[in-house]
């Protein structure tokens, strides 16, 4: 019961934060009035459209209407610039698949690879394999993802010509996000996205595993007659995974946020591009929609991460004192 109350408290707090951020974003973006460079009839039409949309009402009144629409009919507004007269939810839905596919693919690649490398390094602690992996990890954790993107794009894409330089469009790929053409063109962005999660996962896996390998329960397990591999897999690895799993969850958010740049480099028509586009074209509703999407993703991730700590290791209650 106590646990349930705690989760509820966290969710309410999260919604409150979300609401405040939404209010701030709404007010700030509405304070920027779009220019009307058009003349004559078009300007008239534009002004009439804005009048009808309530752009000339006080900001708080507009916000009230906006909130009411969301709550009563899940209407997040309409895009007037990017996709003319398409509901924001639909614009978001259209742009989500590429982002999600790239990120999920990258996680599928990086999580097992990172953990495997970390385990290998921990088992070979202080041998040359470990030194090699640890040094490489240090470099790969620090180098920014766009540098990998350039390297991969130049050598694999341009010099060797193995992969197309930019991601192919949905039309080219035959209308499916998972067609061979599309997957082939996504290899490079996925690679560029995977380097740093692999490195950071390997680093923490190694750290956690070396710690649990030297703890007393391992000695006990060995004294009781388990072989080294049995003890490692059943005891050390299990315990080492406790702090790693929440980290994997947090990678989801990190990867979605970090893919802004990768999306730009590889011309992936995803949500990161939508966000930047909406700011420059002052597509208010799309901006708030995307903004809320990003905020919600990061808040939910933090929440799930904190809760999963408690779930995996009941001794931990994040945020409680």
């Amino acid at each position: 019961m106590n646990h349930f109350k705690y989760i509820l408290k966290r969710i309410v707090l999260m919604l409150f934060t979300l609401f405040i951020i939404m209010t701030i974003s709404f007010v700030l973006i509405k304070m920027l009035q779009p220019e009307t460079p058009m003349m004559g009839l078009q300007a008239e039409l534009e002004r009439a459209r804005r009048e009808a949309l309530g752009y000339y009402k006080p900001v708080m009144t507009q916000y009230w209407i906006y909130l009411k629409n969301i709550i009563t009919s899940w209407d997040w507004g309409t895009s007037w610039q990017i996709d003319y007269r398409v509901p924001v939810t639909e614009v978001l839905m259209r742009r989500l698949p590429p982002t999600i596919i790239v990120n999920v693919l990258s996680l599928i690649v990086s999580v097992p690879l990172g953990i495997a490398l970390g385990i290998f390094a921990a088992l070979k602690k202080n041998k040359w394999q470990d030194h090699f992996i640890s040094t490489t990890i240090m470099v790969f954790v620090s180098v920014p993802s766009f540098v990998y993107a350039f390297i991969v794009q130049y050598f694999l894409g341009f010099r060797l010509g193995w992969f197309p330089l930019i991601a192919s469009s949905l039309h080219e790929a035959g209308g499916s996000w998972l067609s061979p053409v599309m997957l082939h063109s996504l290899v490079m962005p996925v690679m560029a996205l995977s380097f740093s999660p692999v490195a950071s996962l390997a680093r923490s896996t190694r750290a956690e595993l070396t710690e649990s390998l030297t703890s007393e329960y391992m000695l006990l397990a060995r004294t009781k007659g388990l072989t080294r591999s049995q003890a490692t897999v059943r005891h050390a690895l299990k315990n080492a995974m406790v702090p790693i799993l929440p980290r994997i969850i947090s990678l989801f958010a990190g990867v979605i946020g970090g893919s802004l740049i990768i999306e730009k480099i590889f011309a992936i028509n995803g949500i990161g591009g939508l966000f930047i586009q909406s700011i420059y074209q002052l597509d208010y509703d799309v901006f708030i929609g995307t903004d809320m999407f990003y905020t919600a993703v990061s808040l939910v991730t933090v929440l799930v991460m904190d809760l999963s700590y408690g779930f995996l290791d009941p001794r931990v209650r994040m945020g409680e004192r």
Partner: protein, 514 residues
């Protein structure tokens, strides 16, 4: 047995009776906290190397703009995308300003033609060999010759600076006289014979290209006096037929009057550059797509990144330390309210804040781009430090030495900053160093995405350089290569340095991240 162990009392004697023994005063000097940290830090070789690299990069950013010939605003559109070139380094085989190019027959003639035109100083003609051996011949080295699809191709190393060749310019008559005087003085030829671009020997599209000085047909193939196509072997034997403007006596003309004061001339751009600037166009790291010198631009980019990162670090440190100290020291309701505020602030996605600040403050011109970024970083950046300080305060505020100080009448402020705060110093220093690579990375990303726009002739950032260079990734990778190297080096060294500091200040944490 036991009885046998008895030793008679008189067998015991005092070792010394003349000196009183006390605890001796330490002969060594006491080691302070910072000294202790330094001693530990010194042992970490990777961190030392990282620190040296950081110092070198900082020195590069500080010193280079003063010692190089180019200024940040210097851009010569003609010398855009030049390869790294340096006379000293060229002797050991790097920075030769060259790149590999594949030439077909027509292109080969065009390229070697530039060298021939350089030698053809007064319309007297130049042979193929003269052009090939000219000091300003674009083709520096032939890598290989091969046939593909029945055509001849050649892989050659081309000097990007000489490849520019000739340009048409509009200058005043007095400028013309000045150039002529300079030519005599320095024994370098800037003005070359004008090409008659309006006759049938120059193809329409080639009229703006001053390197087409020879007669050619509509397919840009060189022809002889009668309009017959020339084969490569023939050209090698006899040379090209020039298309210079000549007066009635058959002497070449060096300019075309356009109006009363302006005349059009054909200049060898390399020498013209020397005339204009007094030095040869050599760029150690090459130039970018707009003709800016990468060496100088990068130094300014490093300055900007470091100024931003260090100021963010200092400001966040101050705010965070104060905030965390108040939270941790007073606790209770104050702590709860302040925690909620920082909770909400930390939920705001940074990219949104940065963008809104840029839109609201920078674009209307209220603050500079840098100022807008600084605000954005400061708005949420201090939360991490505040959290660390708060935790430390909770740990130390009820310790006995604090209680005793309180009993002796120390004020809150004294307790906070004299007694508890020094305990958090190590954590704070470490975290403020580890903030720096994060800020550099974010700043680079934002300027790369174009959210923070540093793209001007007087200011640049590493991210802007990357964004501008991406267009040329395939053809001129050096433009993006150098900023990428610097930013990676900065990130790696700051991380290593920060980790070394953390190990030095908190030896107990050692190994957690290793």
């Amino acid at each position: 047995m036991h009885q046998d162990m008895k030793i008679p009392k008189e067998k015991f004697t005092f070792v010394q009776t003349d000196v009183d023994l006390h605890d001796e005063k330490f002969e060594v000097r006491p080691i302070s906290y910072l000294m202790d940290a330094w001693l530990r830090f010194r042992k970490n070789k990777a961190s030392i190397v990282a620190a040296i690299i950081i110092v070198l990069i900082v020195l590069y950013g500080l010193v280079v703009p003063f010692v190089t010939r180019y200024k940040i605003s210097d851009a010569d559109g003609v010398y855009a995308k030049m390869r790294p070139k340096n006379e000293v380094l060229a002797k050991i085989g790097i920075a030769k300003g060259q790149y590999q190019k594949t030439l077909n027959e027509r292109f080969l003639i065009y390229m070697n033609g530039i060298g021939m035109a350089v030698e053809d100083t007064h319309g007297q003609g130049a042979t193929w060999e003269q052009g090939k051996n000219s000091p300003m011949a674009p083709i520096r080295e032939v890598k290989s010759e091969y046939q593909r699809g029945g055509r001849d191709y050649m892989d050659v190393m081309v000097d990007s600076y000489y490849e520019v060749g000739f340009k048409y310019l509009m200058i005043t008559r007095s400028e013309f006289a000045r150039i002529q005087a300079w030519e005599k003085e320095n024994n370098l030829q800037v003005l070359y014979p004008m090409v008659d671009i309006n006759n049938k020997w120059t193809e329409q599209n080639n009229r703006t290209d001053a390197n087409f000085w020879f007669r050619h047909n509509a397919k840009s193939n060189p022809v002889d006096e009668n309009g017959k196509s020339l084969k490569l072997d023939q050209i090698k034997e006899k040379g090209l037929v020039d298309n210079y403007r000549r007066d009635a006596d058959g002497k070449v003309e060096y300019f075309i009057p356009k109006d009363k004061s302006m005349i059009q001339v054909r200049v060898l751009y390399y020498n013209y550059f020397i005339y204009r600037n007094g030095y040869e166009p050599l760029h150690l790291l090459g130039t970018d797509g707009q003709g800016f010198d990468i060496l100088v631009r990068m130094a300014h980019g490093i300055r900007l990144s470091l100024v931003l990162a260090v100021s963010v670090s200092i400001i966040n440190l101050t705010i965070g330390a104060l905030y965390g100290a108040i939270e941790g020291y007073y606790g209770g309701v104050i702590d709860m309210i302040m925690e909620r505020i920082s909770d909400i602030l930390s939920g705001v996605p940074f990219i949104v804040v940065a963008t809104l600040f840029q839109l609201h403050l920078v674009i209307p011109g209220k603050v500079s781009v840098l100022g807008g970024l600084l605000f954005a970083f400061v708005l949420t950046g201090w939360i991490g430090t505040a959290y660390l300080v708060r935790t430390q305060f909770y740990r130390f505020k009820n310790q006995e030495y604090v209680l005793s100080a309180r009993t002796l009448g120390a004020s809150d402020r004294r307790l906070m900053f004299k007694h508890i705060f020094p305990n958090t110093l190590g954590t704070i220093i470490t975290s403020s160093v580890l903030v720096i690579p994060g800020v550099i990375f974010t700043e680079t990303s934002l300027s790369y995405l174009g959210i923070a726009n540093f793209n001007s002739s007087t200011m640049t950032s590493l991210g802007t350089m990357l964004a501008n260079g991406q267009r040329y990734l395939q053809t001129d990778p050096h433009i993006i290569f150098f900023p990428s190297i610097i930013i990676s080096l900065l990130m790696i060294s700051f991380n290593l340095f920060g980790n070394g500091l953390r190990d030095a200040f908190n030896p107990s944490l050692r190994g957690a991240e290793e």
